[in-house]
């Protein structure tokens, strides 16, 4: 228990001290690189902005992620159960995923100009649904036939087989993908917030820091983003231990 709490805290403190020393030794001015000691000032100055913008970024990311889960699981199920659909959809999905989302962001921002919430949620969704679709489809299609036979030989329906076996068996893969997706969705939201003119969210705050050459503010935004990212990631980890904790083997 001590190791799981104290060690990460000590590591974080060591990191901040090294960062501070780096800036101090090189005598870098604020417009080159902010040091950790500049950050509290930046945060207290704009703390209400951080709260409002942080909340906007958070809910957009979560909304995008939820849509990605719904759509990703639906695609995964279609591809996992129907061989033909997998052959048909897989190349399309791979191609779609291969397009760097940074190039899609300005397009979406132009098409739906001013629709900040919609745009950010949409990019968060687009960037994060692919790992979920792939992992669910692989989880379902690699289900050993014996599992199905055990239930089918008793006269179980397709939906019973799905709920009792296919779904729980795919959960570990699903959560593995969700850990990747949660970070991706975050990147998606911020890309849109930074690019979108007169945007909102932490991305827009970062952008205004850039426009005003307020470097401590930009770094403070980075830290806030890292904090939100960590929180979201561990929410997924907690959900994973609740729903797929059985997949974790005790290591001694």
């Amino acid at each position: 228990m001590i190791r799981r709490i104290v060690v990460p805290i000590v590591a974080t403190v060591v990191f901040l001290v090294l960062w501070e020393l780096l800036v101090w030794f090189n005598d870098w001015p604020n417009y080159l690189m902010a040091s950790p000691s500049d950050l509290p000032a930046a945060v207290t100055k704009y703390w209400n902005l951080f709260l409002i913008m942080g909340w906007q970024t958070l809910w957009r990311t979560v909304a995008g992620l939820l849509i990605a889960v719904l759509v990703g699981v639906a695609f995964g199920m279609i591809m996992g159960f129907w061989r033909t659909m997998r052959d048909a959809l897989y190349p399309l999905l791979v191609g779609f995923n291969a397009i760097p989302k940074a190039t899609v962001v300005p397009i979406v921002a132009l098409i739906f100009v001013g629709a900040h919430d919609f745009n950010a949620v949409m990019i968060a969704f687009m960037i994060s649904f692919f790992p979920i679709a792939v992992s669910v489809s692989i989880g379902l299609s690699t289900l050993e036939p014996e599992y199905r036979d055990i239930l089918r030989s008793l006269g179980a329906s397709r939906s019973t087989i799905f709920w009792k076996i296919a779904l729980p068996k795919t959960l570990p893969e699903f959560f593995g993908a969700l850990k990747v997706s949660v970070t991706l969705a975050f990147i998606g939201t911020n890309l849109m917030e930074i690019v979108s003119p007169h945007g909102r969210g932490l991305g827009a705050l970062f952008d205004s820091g850039k426009t005003n050459s307020d470097y401590p503010l930009m770094f403070a935004v980075l830290i806030a983003l890292a904090f939100l990212g960590i929180v979201l990631y561990y929410v997924v980890v907690v959900l994973e231990t609740i729903f797929a904790g059985w997949a974790e083997r005790e290591v001694n």
């Binding site: 050993e144 014996e146 599992y147 036979d149 055990i150 239930l151 089918r152 030989s153 008793l154 006269g155 179980a156 019973t160 009792k164 076996i165 729980p168 068996k169 959960l171 797929a244 059985w246 997949a247 083997r249």
Partner: protein, 266 residues
Amino acid sequence: MTGLIEIRNVTHAYVTDTGPLPVLNDLSLSIPEGGFVAVVGPSGCGKSTLTRLIAGLMKPDRGKVWLHGDIVTSPRSTVGMAFQNPVLLEWRSILKNVMLPLEIVPTRLTRREQEDRARKLLALVGLEGFEDKRPSELSGGMRQRASLCRALVHQPEVLILDEPFGALDAFTREDLWMTMHNLKAEEPFTGVMITHDLRESIFLADQVIVLSGRPATAQHVMDIPSAGPRVLDDLYTPEAADRLNVLRRQIEIAQGRAPANAETGE
């Protein structure tokens, strides 16, 4: 109609990219109620197809399969199955795994009675005290024992075993043979077992059927009468050696390695 399981003139072929692949050819066999039949034969000769036909997981191209006087066209809850891979659900405890069929098959038992039944079976195969463990905490032999309990928990008329002990080491396998005899004494069932182990076939079954190479038909039928309960020592008698020799010769014929007229070594 005499047997609980009747298979009459069954012919079946799989559709493949290179045309039909015939696996069973005019196969007939009859298993009386309470009987235990072992099916042996060369690899890929259609043994597993036979189990899937009996379980109603597929329909034969020609011929019929009867179970208790009814033609089998779809799966029915009076069948229990176990495979070489125990396929336990990793997210459930051993007890909940064993109780799985009761969630699907209509049962008159109350929740309490269902649990008691699962516990009783687990105790019978020596898994008392492991009810709340996860499958990953058990050895291969123990997992296979749990899988047998799951196959029997809904009191099926027919138990279908597809190479159930194939992945276990020799000593564990012999333990499980004895477990099978105990189970059969306590929980009467009619059994069909696919196996590659001739010793296993003559030790467990009261009839051994040798299938020919693909497309398979019943090439040789051997009855194994037994007086009283069997013990492992029975496998080391001259009688057992003779039976194993006959079966070995038949397998060679089925594989096409020995001419069919070079009759048995009796």
